[in-house]
């Protein structure tokens, strides 16, 4: 180490690449209500009546709304009529924001635990912001000093107050690789990443607003502009937009159906979208992959696919080397082959069987009109190449589909054969008129062992149908078309979002660029880091090598490499590291969202890990007290609810963007980016004092030392240390439409926005709804194509093979060797196509009539899904939701109910292998999983209870139940308080311990697992009668603090007199 750097070094600075301000010594000015005003952060008027536009953030989507205030208090919220998809709708989650924002369960001040952990005797005291920041920083610094930087970790996820970027970058800023989020591998990461692998475009998720095309031209304002509605057939596979995104995509679906769009819904549950479907395929939970392959079998055999697109725009005709499992390059396959002179080096030439000659031929990339004059690629083909029998990608797919005749799929998936056939016919019918349908793929399959297989199969279907970049399709891109002939071919850069972390940490391959170009880019990173040359002596390739070790060291990366795309850890591996200390022990935890016990699989194993094995200090930030905070938090930072949070949901709806100001402000709440910014700054200050005397532990030493010397770009990214930055963004975005001049303040902004609902921005339709991106000419004279190696849609997902063998593209130029061969389902590699791995959690049918599972102790299949009332772990405190949906009713078919002696409305108990057998032996779960040990007896919880909803809404043998938690269990009125996460929570019986993790993402199984059910009694400490929920209604009390402090807003008199809840609402039943 270079001694000369010691005096200049600092542990870390928050000077992020993104240019966020240095956080050291900053305050939360503008965020903390110190002067008795009720609107310290929000800038709304505090007297009289007013209306402001805002955007609901009650779920992952964003419905524009209008917020009405009286004397500074929100009294009414309604949907915004000009919203292009929700068209004035606002669902009960948005309406209930009033009861969330003003809930007695709000955390309005920094809170420090005063006794032992655990819900039973939980107590907190209010401390100052400075004390809280210092306490968190001290605990983090102490752990780093004693155990190294890898002892710190972060998590996020669970609904509400999202802090995704902060949770990812805060551990990195402090030199730790560990961050997780209960969604991620179990929610969206597989779909978004597989889309990037397969064609470099937007994926098939409606919930995450990747699929927007079907909702085009629905709103009256857009229809008036002549914007057409082009989706006439849509497949909702494992998605229920009418429930999960009630007022946005739910309204969109209602409008679509009303305009005659036909729908195919694949869902074990008779969801609202299934009820309205043209064809409903009630697939057996967990058997989706087989159903997908049955579609391929029919479509390939009957040539229902788009022949030109499949031949020239996908890799289906490519012949595959059976040894490498990669498509043959023409230069490998054909002796003496040289690519055409005008073919750029970044565009490989593969080989196919030429249908015209029956011979192996080169298949150069290019305009189909040109290429087809030379070669007519055969989609289903086998040929001998270099002495090896080589199948085309199409043939490999067809062979995998061979067992899945319609009859076999019907038996395995519990769906009538004629319905599968009708669905295939409907899905393929638009092509016959030269039009497109599309598949929307929901979250359910992310939560199964086929998390990568199903999206591969479903995107591949749209690709062979040519339903790509066309009006009416779901695989479409939004935004202006690239200029003709002006751009290089598309590429995909890996690690983090758009390669962001790849550049920061000097790792990752730009797929679609040549190896030479990638080498040159990596070589240039030190200069990019250090444009002024100040760090020139130190910023070298060997430094980069050590820096990218941080990404390679992330828990679970050895086997589940798809996680690299979001730079997140494998959750069960984190839990095992806490339990065993191997390979290092995470000790100080900063969680940035809601109820971990409601949303983490095998919640009981997590509880045991925390309580038995010890996490030394747990810092939380969230607007509410949930099970996780009441059980585990040592310190809680107060966060804003969306009515308070400027820019909370500023991502718009279709081509519309609406202002999203902080309208009100309560207590000392702050934006979700503030605590991490302040804590990193304070922890760095502590550690900087000790740099010359302390060795920062063992495991994290390399990274720590590097950060000491190269404190650039390692700050917490996303948001800022104050709300002022968010206000500046709002003002910049809407100044023009609000008629504001230079230097406008937030007060000017709110004055202009008051009673003005027309202040929003609209991208012109022709700049947003665009098609045929791959056909635009690139600067090399060829069509742009797609951001894959082959420049085509890779239905055969060739990146999977490389990823499982070397870590390519994420770890380039490092090679990390192959995955554990027990993990891969394709001969030890990640499967490049949809396949049907052995179902461990809900074993296959045991008898010919197809209605029984083969586990005699747990003969039923439980699956899950959202209900309208809540988003993730949110809003179980909302009295107007809970009185309507007090318990997570388990759906059960009358035949099954009769067999088990259960009547509608009965209390029942549901058990799984997580509720029986011997206690879980810490640290053995993942090894058991890879070893394929099926006879697991890993007791981590007691059986759960709920009420039965007996109806023909699921098939015999299937149960369907929403995950749940009970905030009433730790209400001050309870004689014995509990955390409320055990009684009714599906996630205590799910398997995140020793299931068959999805090979690519390590996704664990939350859906489609084996359970048993029996009649039971009401559990302790839960409320079911409407009036019982009265303590959740807004009051002048905050139950975590003494009355004299715990008021909802500082000015008690104002609240008491002015909040316009009628007496029956505010005090009903008390």
């Amino acid at each position: 180490m270079q001694e000369t750097t010691l005096t200049r070094r600092s542990f870390v600075k928050a000077a992020a690449v993104a240019g966020a301000a240095v956080a050291v010594g900053s305050t939360v000015a503008g965020c903390v209500d110190t002067g008795g005003s009720s609107t310290g952060g929000g800038a709304a008027t505090t007297t009289g009546k007013a209306m402001y536009g805002s955007v609901c953030h009650g779920c992952i989507q964003a419905c524009p709304c209008k917020v009405y205030l009286e004397d500074g208090v929100v009294v009414k919220i309604e949907g915004h009529p000009d919203a292009p998809t929700s068209i004035g709708s606002l669902c009960l989650k948005g309406l209930n924001q009033i009861h969330t924002c003003y809930s007695p369960r709000r955390v309005l001040y920094p809170l420090k635990r005063t006794g032992a952990r655990g819900a039973e005797n939980a107590a907190f005291e209010r401390i100052s912001w400075d004390e809280a920041v210092q306490l968190a920083a001290t605990k983090i610094a102490e752990a780093i000093e004693q155990y190294g930087t890898y002892s710190f970790f972060c998590s996020v996820g669970g609904g509400g107050a999202y802090s995704f970027m902060q949770a990812m970058t805060m551990p990195m800023a402090l030199g730790s690789p560990t961050v997780f989020e209960p969604g991620c591998a179990q929610c969206y990461l597989p779909r978004i990443t597989e889309a990037a692998y397969m064609y470099g475009g937007a994926d098939q998720s409606i919930a995450d607003c990747a699929v927007l095309e079907p909702f085009k031209g629905l709103a009256p304002l857009e229809e008036a502009k002549g914007v057409s509605q082009d989706t006439k057939v849509i497949v909702l596979w494992a998605a229920q937009p009418s429930v999960s995104q009630t007022a946005q995509s739910g309204r969109g679906m209602a409008e679509l159906r009303a305009r005659g769009c036909k729908t195919i819904v694949v869902d074990p549950n008779f969801s609202p979208d299934a009820v309205k479907a043209t064809i409903h395929l009630p697939v057996r939970p967990g058997s989706d992959a087989a159903l997908v392959l049955s579609w391929y079998r029919v479509i390939l055999d009957e040539k229902l696919y788009d022949e030109e697109f499949t031949k020239y725009w996908t890799n289906m005709p490519f012949l595959v080397n059976p040894e490498t499992k990669l498509p043959w390059l023409a230069t490998e396959a054909i002796d003496g082959y040289t690519p055409p002179a005008d073919m750029p080096a970044n565009t490989p030439v593969y080989v196919c069987v030429d249908e015209n000659t029956g011979q192996v031929a080169a298949l150069p990339f290019g305009d189909p009109a040109t290429v087809s004059a030379e070669v007519n690629p055969q989609v289903l083909a086998t040929a001998t190449v270099k002495g090896l029998e080589s199948k085309s990608c199409g043939q490999i797919y067809r062979d995998e589909a061979e067992p899945w005749t319609l009859a076999k799929a019907a038996e395995f998936c519990w769906v009538p054969e004629d319905r599968i056939r009708a669905a295939i016919d409907l899905y393929t019918s638009p092509l016959k008129e030269g039009k497109a349908a599309g598949i929307a793929n929901g979250v359910a399959t992310d939560m199964e062992e086929t998390a990568s297989q199903v999206p591969d199969g479903l995107m591949g279907l749209d690709m062979i149908m040519g339903y790509v970049n066309k009006p009416g399709a779901t695989l479409t891109q939004n935004g202006p078309l690239p200029a003709d002939g002006a751009n290089p071919r598309p590429t995909m850069f890996w690690n983090g979002f758009g390669g962001m972390f790849g550049m920061m940490y000097g790792i990752g391959y730009e797929v679609g660029a040549t190896e030479e170009a990638n080498e040159a880019r990596i070589a240039a990173i030190p200069e990019e880091w250090d444009p002024n040359g100040q760090l020139a002596p130190f910023m070298t390739q060997s430094t980069l090598w050590a820096m990218n070790q941080l990404l390679l060291d992330r828990l679970g990366m050895k086997n589940h490499r798809g996680l690299y795309n979001w730079c997140h850890s494998h959750i069960p591996s984190v839990r095992e590291a806490i339990e065993t200390g191997e390979p290092f022990k995470p000790r100080v935890w900063f969680d940035m969202s809601g109820n971990k016990f409601a949303v983490l699989g095998s919640a009981g194993a997590w509880y045991n890990a925390i309580m038995d094995d010890g996490v030394d200090f747990i810092i939380c930030q969230y607007p509410m007290i949930t099970s996780f905070q009441i059980e585990c938090a040592d310190l809680i930072f107060p966060l804003e609810e969306w009515l308070e949070a400027t820019g909370a949901s500023s991502f718009g709806q279709l081509n519309y963007a609406f202002p999203c100001p902080g309208i009100i402000h309560l207590g000392e709440t702050v934006p979700n980016s503030v605590p991490s910014q302040r804590v990193v700054a304070a922890a760095s200050a502590i550690l900087n004092e000790k740099l010359d005397s302390v060795i920062f532990g063992a495991t994290g030493q390399t990274m720590a030392e590097l950060k000491l010397q190269f404190p650039l770009g390692m700050g917490v990214m996303g948001g800022s240390d104050s709300e002022e930055v968010e206000w500046a963004a709002q003002i910049a975005s809407y100044s023009e439409v609000l008629g504001l001049g230079e230097g406008a303040t937030k007060e000017d902004f709110m004055a202009a926005l008051k009673d003005n609902h027309k202040a929003y921005n609209v991208t012109p339709p022709d700049q947003y709804w665009t098609y045929g991106q791959h056909l635009v000419k690139a600067d090399d004279g060829l069509p742009m194509g797609f951001a894959t190696e082959s420049r085509k849609c890779e239905v055969y997902n060739q990146i999977h093979i490389k990823l499982s063998r070397t870590g390519f593209p994420y770890t380039y130029p490092r090679e990390i060797g192959p995955i554990d061969p027990r993990v891969g389902t394709w001969g030890g590699d990640y499967s490049p196509i949809c396949n049907v791995p052995v179902q461990k959690e809900a074993p296959e049918v045991a008898n010919a009539n197809g209605l029984a599972l083969s586990d005699p102790e747990f003969p039923l299949a439980l699956t899950s899904g959202r209900v309208y009332y809540f988003h993730h772990g949110t809003m179980r405190h909302a009295a107007f939701a809970r009185e309507l949906y007090p318990v997570p009713y388990v759906r059960i078919n009358p035949a099954t109910a009769a067999e088990y002696g259960i009547a509608d409305g009965d209390w029942v108990e549901i058990s799984s292998r997580r509720t029986q057998g011997t206690d879980y032996v810490h640290g053995t779960g993942i090894e058991q999983s890879y070893a394929g040990i099926k006879e697991n007896n890993t007791k981590t919880a007691e059986p759960i209870r709920t009420k039965a909803y007996v109806a023909e809404v699921v098939a015999p043998g299937v149960l369907w139940m929403e995950r749940f938690w009970n905030p009433e269990s730790f209400d001050s009125t309870q004689s014995k308080k509990t955390g409320g996460w055990q009684q009714m929570n599906v996630n205590v019986i799910t398997n995140a311990v020793d299931c068959n993790f999805n090979e690519v993402y390590g996704s664990y199984t939350n859906r489609g697992f084996a359970v048993n059910i029996k009649k039971s009694e009401k559990p302790e400490g839960v409320w079911t009668e409407p009036k019982e929920f009265a303590p959740f209604l807004p009051s002048n009390k905050n139950e975590y603090l003494p009355d004299d402090i715990g008021v909802l807003i500082e000015n008690k008199a104002l609240l008491t007199d002015i909040v316009a809840f009628p007496a029956s609402t505010a005090e009903g039943g008390q």
Binding site: E78, I87, P272, D273, Y869, S1064
Partner: protein, 220 residues
């Protein structure tokens, strides 16, 4: 005589209960009391050959309104200006006579789905008012430029409906919001239904196409 009511499109309704919550906030209704409900009409067939719908239900604004005739104090009345069936809480004594006269109400006024609910705190009967405090002079064709415009206001259950399933207006006025929706449904040959009950002629109309489900009223 005006015939103000809701018209509800069951082809659209997804059963999300947002109308219930919108109503509770607008009308300040306490826990355990409701002016409206959404009842799932469970499948009658055998899985997977099943169909179902959700039935939002509230005061049906009966043309003959037996509740008004039965009320001993005159608290149940029709608005003299727009004919909406209402309850005057000042004169209601909470005698519950109207519950027996209303075929859509639970005899105790406390079990869903009842269109009338007994407010124990105030000792009075309550029910859907079509948000007459907002809509008394409205034609039910919402002014999207000003949703508070009294000439065009709609109840919040209509405005916020997550499926665009609800419309409001006077069925005797062909230009009203509800009449237009009904006319379009008739023209399209879609099923138009009422919840039939002895002795009443409900104004409230439900649209349900045979392709979505068979009309079974309130179900079992």
């Amino acid at each position: 005589m005006a015939k103000r009511t809701l018209v509800i499109d069951l082809d659209r309704c997804s059963g999300c209960d947002s109308c219930v919550v919108a109503c509770k906030f607008e009308n300040g209704i306490g826990l355990g009391n409701y002016y409206n409900h959404v009842k799932p009409i469970n499948p009658a067939g055998k899985h997977p050959d099943i169909n179902m719908y959700w039935l939002p239900i509230q005061c049906q604004q009966c043309e003959n309104s037996p509740c008004v005739a039965a009320c001993p104090t005159g608290a149940s009345y029709r608005d003299p200006d727009n004919n909406v069936v209402l309850i005057d809480k000042e004169t209601c004594t909470g005698c519950k006579t109207c519950l027996a006269a209303c075929p859509y109400s639970d005899p105790t006024g406390a079990v869903r789905p009842s269109v009338r609910w007994f407010n124990e705190e105030l000792g009075v009967m309550e029910k859907c008012t079509l948000c007459n405090h907002l809509t008394a002079t409205s034609d039910g064709v919402e002014n999207t430029e000003d949703t508070t415009d009294a000439a065009h206001a709609v109840p919040p259950c209509v405005h916020n409906c997550s499926c665009g399933a609800r419309s409001f207006g006077d069925l005797d006025d062909p230009a009203s919001g509800a009449s237009k929706v009904l006319a379009a449904a008739e023209a399209a040959g879609r099923g138009i239904h009422t919840i039939e009950a002895e002795g009443v002629t409900p104004a409230c109309k439900y649209i349900l196409s045979a392709e979505i489900a068979d009309w079974r009223g309130l179900g079992e």
